[in-house]
Structures are given as C-alpha cells and as structure tokens.
Symmetry: C3
Subunit: 260 residues, 3 copies
C-alpha cells in the first residue's frame, strides 16, 4: 500500500486522540502516508470544517483519501459517510462537513460506512464516543488500501448538505454575506469574483466602504481592501491586520457590492 490519507479534526493534539486515529490507519494500511491538515478546527464547528476541506480536497491527486472528523453528533444515529468525488475519496460524519465538496464535484457517489473492520485486538466493537478511531479511520484505511467504496456499506443518495446562503444579484451589484473568517481575520464572502466590474465597483460592510484592489500590494499597511481571493470569491482584508477585528464582522455579516 502506498496511498495517502489526509486528516482534518477538531481534536487538538495534546490528548493523543490523533495518535490513535493514525495508529489505526497505519496498522490497517501499512505504508500509507498520513498528512495532517488540521486538528485545530474550533470544537464542533462543522461550518469551519466545510470551508477548510473545500480549500484542498481537489488539489490532492486522485486516489487520495480525505478524512474529516468534526462530529458533535458522535454517538447519535447520524450516519458515517464515505464517498468518491472526482477521483478523490472522502470519509466523514454525515453532518454536512462535505457540503462544499459535493457542490463542487463534477460527479460523486456515496455510501454509508457500516462494514468497517477494526483490528481484532483494538475493541470488540465501536465505542460510543470515539468513532474517528473505531469507524472513520478503518474506513479511510480500507479506501487507502484500494478496496472498493461499495464494500463499506449501502449506497447513500442523500448526504446531509448545509445550505450556504446564496448571494443575491441586485440591479447595480449584489448582496452577500461573510461565510468564513480565517486566522488572519480575512473575511471570505459568498460573492463571486466575477461580479466585480473592477473600475467602478465598491464593497460596503457594516457602514464602511471598502476599495477593490487586485493585490495586497496596492493597499497601504492598515488599509481595508476587498479583492478576489484564492478561492475565486470576494474577500475583505486589512493589509498586515485583521478585517474581522477592524469591522466587527463575523460569519453572517452582510456584504454589498455596488457597481457604477
């Protein structure tokens, strides 16, 4: 086996839970490479995980297995999801964490991950509280080993999807919201970069008018600017500072684009 598994969780690292997940994968799929993406998602924040996964899932080569466990419903009847999307595999609780992946994929198929085989000496069955170790890691290892998706369980045609608020076209621009705030305090909106008519557009957030720029370099340090982010959407930033702090903005804050 020479596959690659990526990990995204809200576990932090200091308790050793991440080691447990990696150990199960390493044992079930020896030789696999495990890439950490993050263990620092705010606890239980499925939306944050959704945006984070969207930033990398398709940049990895086909065959990669992405494990994403932010799972406030562990121990409830929420299903375990395994899917294949544009050649990559994803394993996660069925709580919406893969919403944007499913939105972006050209084609996908999903199953409920039920038939996961734990190493005999780990547990007699899944624990009530640690499905990352007992369900998701074995499923990821299964896929990284090249076994078929369908063998994990029955087809699942209706995975849970979080509805991202849609931006609204208006006569001379559009109205959207902040959908994510990153570590730098940059505000990612749901406004498509394509809506900008650069020469004559401006952004309004919380009563402030923000200039559109092509790059950070066109802004003075401390200046509030809007630009098209690396995700292709309109982003609001302060060069060498935090737009979130400066504007008192957060997820859900309304953002208006006006042209002309």
């Amino acid at each position: 086996v020479a596959g690659r598994v990526t990990l995204l969780t809200d576990f932090g690292t200091r308790d050793g839970y991440v080691g447990a997940v990696k150990g199960v994968i390493a044992r079930a799929a020896p030789g696999v490479t495990i890439d950490d993406v993050s263990h620092d998602i705010p606890p239980g924040d499925v939306w944050s995980a959704t945006y984070a996964v969207a930033r990398y899932w398709r940049l990895y080569p086909e065959g990669t297995v992405h494990l994403a466990v932010v799972d406030p419903g562990v121990g409830t009847s929420r299903r375990a999801l395994a899917c294949e999307a544009d050649g990559r595999f994803l394993v996660a609780p069925d709580n919406g964490v893969l919403s944007r992946v499913l939105d972006e994929a050209t084609r996908w198929t999903a199953v409920e991950a039920r038939h996961v085989e734990l190493p005999a000496d780990v547990r007699t069955g899944p624990s009530a509280t640690f499905h990352a170790r007992d369900v998701f890691a074995p499923a990821a290892a299964h896929l990284a080993s090249g076994l078929e998706l369908e063998r994990l369980g029955p087809a699942l045609s209706d995975p849970t999807r979080l509805a991202e608020p849609r931006p609204v076209r208006e006569e001379r621009g559009g109205r959207g919201v902040v959908v994510a705030v990153d570590r730098f305090g940059d505000l990612l909106t749901n406004l498509p970069g394509g809506w900008i008519a650069l020469a004559s557009s401006r952004i309004e957030v919380r009563g402030e008018s923000v200039r559109l720029r092509r790059t950070y370099a066109e802004a003075a340090p401390g200046e509030l600017i809007a630009l098209v982010s690396s995700d292709g959407r309109i982003e609001i930033a302060v060069r060498h500072g935090s737009a979130a702090a400066r504007l008192g903005a957060r997820r859900g804050t309304v953002v208006r684009l006006t042209s002309g």
Copy 2:
C-alpha cells in the same frame, strides 16, 4: 528503511526544534515516515504525556517507534530510556512518561540509551539542553532502522514509573479521582467501566450527582453525564460543553460511584 516514528513533545512548533528532531531522524534513517502526534503537551507536564501516549502506542503496528519527549529534567542525570513493549519500540526520558505503557504491556524489555551515534557534522557530543535532537532522535532512528535494542546500552530493569492513584472498591460502588482532563473539558477518571451497574449507578463529583449514559446522544446539550470512555474507564462530560469548567474539576478531583 521504511519504518515509522511517531513524535510527542512539549516543544510547540514555532521555534524549529521539531524540525531539528525530524531532520536527525530523516538523515539517520532515510525513507522513514514520521507521524506527529503532538507538540502541544503543556510544558513539562509528564502526567499529560503519560496519558496521551497510552491512547495510541499499541494501536500502531508492531515495529513502530514512539518517541515521547517531555523532559523537565534535561541536563540532569536522569537516564534515557529505550524499550520494546508488545512489539512496539518507545524512546523517552526515564521520568515516568512511559508508566502506563509499561503497565499495559504484556511483556517489555528496556535499556538505557547511551550509545547513540550522532551524524559527525551535527555536534561533537550531546548538548546540555537539547537531548531530543542529540540523544532521543538518534536512538529512535537506530530502532526504526531495524537495529537491535540491546545495542543502545545496558539493560534497565527499573524504569521510573509514576504511580497512578488506584480506585478503591467500596461497599456499594467505588471511589476514584480524575486522572486527566482533555481539550474538550472531559474528565477521565481511574474508575473502571466494569464497575458500573448501569441501571442503578450514579456518579458524584464536587457535590453534583451525574447521570450515567451509554452515549452522548442520550444527553441533552449542556447536560452533565458520565459514560464509559473510549479508554474503558468512566469519563464525565458535558454534551457540547466542558465538564471541567462546569464542575471546577481537575486532576485529582475525587469521583464517587454509587450503585443501588
């Protein structure tokens, strides 16, 4: 070489010390895979490391080398420990960080890691302050390369062991303590899950009576519950919250189990 080394430290990552440890391993054992478990153990907190290591050491396949360096005694005469336990290798300062591994292992052998060979251009000898780079990493690379444990140094029959407080059986239940608090504020106790008679047991902590549940899902958000953790012990948690904060509990807080 195609071995696997895991790392657990209290170094944080921002100073580059972790890179130094990994570089020494990568040079001495090219091709080895290095899995981070944590670099975020509270500085000098050997007990935390002890519980973290216990969560993953045996889930990894045989032949894995676990390096665990939380070393408040660096530069003193404390010994460097290398051991083999149930087919896995462990390298750590001899300060008790492997206590639970030695408790849990069916069989183990240990040596004092003395004969560690540094690459010639690194240092003429070990520094006084960075044994992770100069002693522990070379020892781990040695083992990951398939060399014999015994070649690292003389047998060590009495590794330092931290005595975990033992739970006490009482007439209608038992008395234990909180032994670890995790990132979510969940309280891990030393009470074995097997002591529970679920239908008729309850837990008391700091004057509060806590209900026993089988899963988080049986609790309302914000409710204080007790359940059997993924470690097989009684754990106290708040669904979507922190039991540590709610109860003002920490390591050493007394926990009482009453049945009937």
Copy 3:
C-alpha cells in the same frame, strides 16, 4: 519520486491553506514525504522564521527541500527565491527568511523561481494572495522531483538578507542582544558561547546579574541562569519558568557578558 519536503508557515492550520499547499506538492511529486515543521510562526514575523529555519535546515539529509513561507509582501513585487545550500534545497519569498541559512552555508546558489508549472486544473495563473499554493509549492515539488534548480528561473545573486545585530567585543567580555525568544521563554542571544570564560564570567540583563551554568540541572527550579544553547550561543533561561517573563526581556534587549 521519494523526496522529502518540509514546511514552515504562519498559516495556522484551521483554514485548510496548509492542505492546499500539501495537495499541490503531493500531486506534482507523488510519493514525496511532507514533514510539517510549523504552521504557527507569528503572522508575518520573518525574523522568527529565520531563526526557526536555522535550527533544522542542515540536520536534514542532502536533497531535502525546505519550504518556508512567511510572506507579508505577498502580491508585491518581492521575488520568489529557490536555492541550493550545502546540498539542501530551500524555497521561500525573497524577504530575508533564509538569511541565516545563507550565512551558515559553505556554498550556495540561488535562482528566482519564475517558471513554476501549476497543474492545469488548479488555476490559469497564480492568484494574487496565495503564492504558497501557486508558486512556492510547485517550485518545491519541482526540486523534490529531482529537476534542476536552474530550470526554475534566472540566477539571483543578491538575495535579501536581514542583518543580525553583531555582538561587540569589549575589554572584559562583550555586548550583545536577545535575538529570539522561544516558546519556553528562553532568551537566545547573539553572543557566541566561545566568549565565555566559565569560571569567571557573568551575564547582565536588565539590571540583573545571571549566573553561568553548564546545564539546567545545576540550577534550582526558578533560578535564572545563562548557558550555552544547543545553537552554540549564550542563552538565558529560568529552570521550569520563563526568562522572558521574569526579566521583561524581548528581541533586542541588551545582554552583557563580563569576565574576570
């Protein structure tokens, strides 16, 4: 491909940017091993990154590719730097982050990384804000795949170098400054360990006289001491505590060595 790439950034991990960088590398250089060093450099703090990189770049084996992206000037005209130093490769913004590497290397050659090829489906061209994904990661993958440095772009003979303050020899010792403060609150100075005449030297910082010791073990817990660090320079520490907090010291604080 079986190369090794290390990563040092100030991205944090929770937004998924690190996943994007790793994904691009994994796709362009399948089979490569990616070692995280840190994603926790204080945002935009090039000096911190400079000292961190110096701690590990040469401990890795020849052929390793070190990617170091702390890039407050992203989107400006600052160049992208790729170099080979003593057999290791380094890729970074040309903002001084590799200053100490260039100081320490016996020989180095550098190019401006211009001709980086993105996978066709990632972007039509580099974004204005995420050069780690669009420029630096492809350049690192190029080198990890064994391709020639020169093919990345034209020679660059004058990479940006941050001038570290030089320590000054005085009649009976020397005067230097704190150049970095690590996670433990230890103060790294620019004073060479070789300037110490141990029996008769003392260190003065912010009005306090600090004793020179050979190891932490010679100090009482809580005692302020100076010793020769694992970098070969004089370091000031508090055993089981923070010298930075104790002395109110930070980068730039003057440190005086007096002998006799």
